[in-house]
Amino acid sequence: MNATARANQLRQRARHLRRLADEIETSPVMRLDRHGDVDTWRGPRPDLCRATLAHNQHQLHAAADDLREHAWQLERQAEELDAIARSQIGMAG
C-alpha cells in the first residue's frame, strides 16, 4: 500500500472514531439522570444507582475525548504520509 492509500485509510479510521465518540455522547444514557432524579425515586438504592450512573457518564465522556484524541493523532499521521508522498513525487519528477 502506498503512502497516499495508507493516509486515506488513516483518515477513514479517524472519521469512524469521531463518529463513535459522537454516538457515545449523544446516546440516551447520557440523559438518563434527568429521568431518574429525586422526583422519580429516592432512597439509598436510587442514590447508589445515580452515583454509579454519574461515574459511568464521566467515564463515557472521557472515552469520547480519548477517541477524538486518537482521531487527531491518526490525521496527523495521515498528513505526514501525504508529505512523504509529495516528496517522493517531487524526487521522482
Binding site: I24, V29, D39, T40, W41, P44
Partner: protein, 556 residues
C-alpha cells in the same frame, strides 16, 4: 431514611433505561483504538442492567406499581417506603390476602392453645431438670402439636395486624411464640418484629427462665436465615444488633448464621445493600468502643468475621492513616470510625478463637483476589497498598498472641483447602450465584474448626512470633518472586547468560518447593533462605522495587 417513588415516572424511567441499554448494545467498532471506549460502554451497560434494572424490576413487581398499571392512573405522587414494604413478597400480607379481623372466639381459642403449650413446655423442661436422661419429656408439646398451632396462627398473622402485634408483645413472656417461628411459615416481617421485641442486652432481668428465653430467641433468629434481606433490615436496627451482640448466652451457631446471612448473603444477592452492611459495621464499631469493649457474643463475632470477604475490598481502601484518622468508605459516604476504633472492633471480634480464624480466612481470600487481579504489576507504586494497610490494621487489632496464631493458622488451612478465589475481586458481586456465601462459609468453618479444635495440640514454638502481617508479607513476596522469574527482562538475561539461566532455574525449583510446603514454619525458613539467595542477582532490583512500592517493610 427518606425513600419513595412516583409510579408514573418510575415506569417512564424503566423505558428510558431499557432504551439506553439497547443503544449501548448497538455501539460497535472493530478499530483497535476504540477498544477502551467500548470497554467503558460495556461496563456502563452492565451497571444499568445490574443496578438500575435490578432496582426498577423490584419496584415494577411491587403491588402499588401493579395496581397503578392496572388502573392507568396518572402519576399520583410519592408513596411512602412503608407502602412499598407492604407490597413486598413475604411481607405481612403476601399473595394479596385482604386484611380480616380474627373472630374473637377464634382469637381466644388460639391464645388459649398457645398458653397451654407454653405451660406444658415449662413443665417438660422442669421434668428434664429432674431426669436429664429422658430425651423428650412426656409432658412437653409434640412436634405435630407445635406445627398445627403454627399453621393456624401464621394464617391469622397474615390477615390481622392487631393479632400479630398482640403476639409480638406476648413473645417476651410466652416463649412458645418464638418456637412456633421455627416450625411454621410466618412472614419475615413478623419474625423480625418478634426478634426485635425479644432481643435485650444480656437477656431479660425478670423472673423468666433465661436459658429458655435464649433458646427461643435463637430459634426466632434462625427462622429468618432464609431471608437475607430481612436479616440485614433487622441488623440495621441498632438496639437489636447491640442486644444480639451483648448477650453471650445466645446460641452462637444460629446467631452467626443469621448475621452472615444479613451481612454477606444479602449483599451477594443485591450489591446495592453493601452500604447497609457497612452501616451495621459502623454501629458495631461504636458498640465495640463503648459498652462492648470487653468483647461481643460469639455468634455476632463469627457472623461478622465470616462476612468480611464482601467488605474487605472497600474497607481496606478506606484505611489510610493510623490513630485518630477516619476509616471512610468513600463510595458510600460512610465513616466507620477512627483507625483505632475500627482496630478495636476487630480486636473485640478476635477474642473468640473461631472468629479470629474466620478473619484469617477472610484476609487470605481477599489477599489472593488482590494478588490475582487482572493487570496487576506489583512493582507499581501502591498496587498492594490496600492489602498492606488492612494487614497492619488486623495486626494492630490482635491483642493476644493466640489471636495471631489462630488467624495465621486458619489462613494457612484455607490456603491448603483452596478457599480463595470464590468472590473474584469484589466487583459485580451481584452476578455471583446465590448460595455461594453459605457454601463458602461452610467450607471456611470446616477449615477454622480444624485449627481451633487442634489449638491445644499446637506446639508453642511452632507459631512463635506468629504474625498475620508477616504471613501476608511472605505471601506477597512469593507472588512477586514468581512474577520476577517470568518477566521478559529475566527471560532474556537467562537466554544470554548461562550463569543467570542456572540461577533462574534454581530459583524456580526453590519457589516450587516453597509452594508445595504445607508447614508454615518450614516454609518461612525456605522463603527467608531464598530471599537471601536472590540478593545481587537478576531479580534483586525488581524485588526491591516491589517491596519499596508497596511499603512492604511495614508488615515484614
Amino acid at each position: 431514611v427518606d425513600a419513595g417513588y412516583d409510579p408514573g415516572r418510575v415506569h417512564s424511567l424503566t423505558r428510558h433505561t431499557l432504551e439506553s441499554i439497547d443503544r449501548l448494545d448497538a455501539l460497535t467498532s472493530s478499530d483497535p483504538a476504540a477498544a477502551d471506549a467500548l470497554r467503558t460502554v460495556r461496563l456502563t451497560r452492565a451497571n444499568l442492567e445490574d443496578h438500575w434494572m435490578h432496582a426498577l424490576r423490584d419496584l415494577e413487581r411491587s403491588a402499588p406499581m401493579t395496581r397503578w398499571r392496572a388502573s392507568n392512573l396518572t402519576p399520583f405522587g410519592f408513596r411512602s417506603l412503608g407502602s412499598m414494604g407492604q407490597s413486598l413478597p413475604d411481607h405481612l400480607r403476601p399473595g394479596g390476602l385482604s386484611p380480616v379481623a380474627i373472630p374473637e372466639k377464634r382469637r381466644a381459642e388460639l391464645l388459649g392453645q398457645l398458653d397451654w403449650l407454653e405451660r406444658r413446655a415449662i413443665n417438660g423442661d422442669d421434668e428434664r431438670r429432674v431426669n436429664p436422661d429422658v430425651p423428650v419429656s412426656p409432658g412437653a408439646p409434640t412436634q405435630q402439636e407445635l406445627e398445627d398451632l403454627a399453621d393456624d396462627i401464621a394464617y391469622w398473622v397474615r390477615r390481622d395486624d392487631d393479632f400479630a402485634t398482640d403476639l409480638v408483645e406476648l413473645s417476651t413472656s410466652n416463649m412458645t411464640v418464638a418456637r412456633l417461628l421455627g416450625v411454621g411459615s410466618f412472614p419475615s416481617a413478623f419474625s423480625a418484629r418478634v426478634v426485635k421485641q425479644m432481643a435485650m442486652p444480656n437477656g431479660p432481668d425478670s423472673g423468666i427462665d433465661r436459658d429458655r428465653y435464649a433458646r427461643s430467641l435463637g430459634l426466632a433468629v434462625a427462622s429468618l436465615v432464609g431471608d437475607p434481606g430481612a436479616c440485614l433490615d433487622l441488623l440495621l436496627d441498632e438496639p437489636t444488633t447491640y442486644a444480639l451482640a451483648a448477650w453471650e448466652e445466645l446460641d452462637s451457631t444460629m446467631l452467626a448464621d443469621f448475621v452472615a446471612s444479613g451481612l454477606m448473603d444479602s449483599v451477594l444477592a443485591d450489591a446495592t445493600r453493601l452500604a447497609d452492611g457497612f452501616e451495621v459495621i459502623g454501629h458495631l464499631t461504636l458498640a465495640a468502643n463503648g459498652p462492648l469493649d470487653d468483647g461481643m457474643s460469639a455468634g455476632m463475632a463469627r457472623g461478622l468475621a465470616l462476612s468480611m470477604p464482601v467488605y474487605f475490598p472497600l474497607l481496606s481502601g478506606g484505611v489510610f492513616q493510623t490513630g485518630d484518622n477516619a476509616v471512610r468508605i468513600s463510595e458510600h459516604r460512610i465513616t466507620l470510625g477512627t483507625y483505632d476504633e475500627v482496630a478495636r472492633l476487630f480486636g473485640s471480634v478476635m477474642r473468640d478463637d473461631e472468629a479470629a480464624g474466620a478473619l484469617g480466612v477472610s484476609l487470605g481470600t481477599f489477599t489472593h483476589d488482590e494478588l490475582t487481579r487482572d493487570g496487576l504489576d506489583l512493582a507499581d507504586a501502591g498496587s498492594l497498598t490496600d492489602v498492606v494497610n488492612l494487614s497492619v490494621l488486623l495486626d494492630d487489632a490482635a491483642q493476644t498472641e493466640q489471636a495471631q496464631v489462630v488467624m495465621e493458622a486458619a489462613a494457612e488451612e484455607a490456603r491448603r483447602r483452596q478457599l480463595a478465589g470464590w468472590f473474584g475481586t469484589g466487583t459485580n458481586i451481584a452476578l455471583l450465584a446465590s448460595g455461594v456465601g453459605a457454601a463458602w462459609r461452610s467450607a471456611a468453618s470446616a477449615a477454622i474448626r480444624t485449627i481451633t479444635d487442634g489449638l491445644d495440640d499446637v506446639e508453642p514454638a511452632r507459631f512463635e512470633g506468629a504474625s498475620i502481617a508477616a504471613r501476608q508479607y511472605e505471601q506477597i513476596w512469593r507472588s512477586a518472586m514468581a512474577n520476577a522469574l517470568e518477566r521478559p527482562a529475566t527471560r532474556q538475561a537467562a537466554q544470554r547468560d548461562p550463569v543467570v539461566h542456572a540461577q533462574v532455574e534454581e530459583f524456580r525449583r526453590r519457589l516450587d518447593e516453597i509452594e508445595a510446603c504445607d508447614d508454615p514454619f518450614e516454609r518461612s525458613v525456605l522463603v527467608s533462605d531464598l530471599r537471601t539467595a536472590t540478593e545481587g542477582t537478576i531479580v534483586d532490583d525488581y524485588m526491591d522495587r516491589v517491596v519499596a512500592s508497596n511499603g512492604l517493610e511495614s508488615i515484614r
